[in-house]
């Protein structure tokens, strides 16, 4: 069984040097590339979020459309319009409570 020192000595330490200009050119290209990829990814995330939000909002919008339609039917049944309805409510001192 190898001792601690023997194990450490198995490590072969290299002493190479690299071409700094070529390395820096590649590195800077990689950084710029990763920046533009990040921008593209953020764009993709935002569009995906917008689509999800739209899909989520659609049923709410439909509910709202239904309510507006019922309100319109109510006004036409009573032969009145929105302004008259407001006037009627204020004349009778009626307010909406939250």
């Amino acid at each position: 069984m190898k001792t601690e020192n023997q194990l450490e000595q198995l490590h072969y330490k290299s002493n190479a040097s690299i071409d700094s200009d070529a390395f820096l050119t590649r590195l800077n290209n990689k950084i710029d590339e990763s920046d533009s990829n990040r921008g593209r990814n953020q764009g993709l995330i935002l569009s995906s979020l917008a689509i999800v939000l739209m899909l989520f909002m659609m049923p709410i919008q439909e509910d709202l459309d239904d309510s507006m339609e019922m309100y319109g039917q109510y006004l036409s049944e009573y032969g009145t319009d929105t302004y008259e309805m407001i006037a009627l409510l204020s004349e009778n001192d009626l307010t909406f409570e939250q």
Binding site: M1, K2, E4, L7, E8, L10, H11, Y12, K13, S14, N15, A16, S17, I18, S20, F23, L24, R26, L27, N28, K30, I31, S34
Partner: protein, 176 residues
């Protein structure tokens, strides 16, 4: 007199990209040799060195000037090495792993082969033990420095090292 690391980082954070290049030039050979010694593969060593400095570029804005840049760089180097080992495990699982192609004419061929075997064994250790051993073996750092880099106590660094060496002795013993 060359600018201090912290000054270069400040200049870079003010938008001076050349300051970043100077910082890279200062540490790229050490970083490259750290990985080359471990992988014995120039392409892997180059790729890992690039990954380290891309990470440095992205994270320097958060640098807090409390520790030396070299400590900060070591942290990134060890994390990158751990990711490399994790990828290797996947490569090995998928049967895509390869031994680096060493030149048989190389007079240090035997030493390099043994070194590759050592690192294949270190790769199998738990992450903390592996990180401590890699810092001790590659750069002969003191346990105090290892602890500072890995954000653990000096004693924890010693314990992890001792457990790691025992495991290595078992792993390497089985192969012999």
């Amino acid at each position: 007199m060359p600018a201090k690391d912290h000054d270069l980082i400040k200049q870079f954070n003010r938008g001076n990209r050349e300051a970043f290049n100077r910082l890279v030039k200062r540490y790229m050979n050490d970083t490259y040799n750290y990985y080359y010694s471990i992988t014995q593969d120039p392409l892997d060593a180059d790729e890992l060195t690039q990954q380290v400095f891309v990470q440095v570029f992205k994270s320097l804005k958060k640098f807090r000037y409390e520790a030396a840049f070299s400590t900060y760089l070591y942290r990134i180097k060890v994390n990158t090495l751990n990711s490399y080992f994790s990828n290797n495990r996947w490569r090995s699982f998928l049967g895509l792993d390869q031994m680096p192609e060493l030149e048989t004419t190389d007079e240090d061929f035997d030493k390099k082969t043994l070194s590759v075997e050592l690192w294949k064994a270190i790769e199998q250790l738990p992450k903390k033990q592996r990180s401590v051993i890699s810092l001790r073996i590659t750069d002969n750092l003191k346990f105090k420095e290892v602890g500072e880099i890995l954000k653990i106590s000096e004693d924890a660094a010693k314990n992890n090292y001792s457990h790691g060496i025992k495991s290595l002795q078992k792993i390497m013993g089985k192969k012999r």
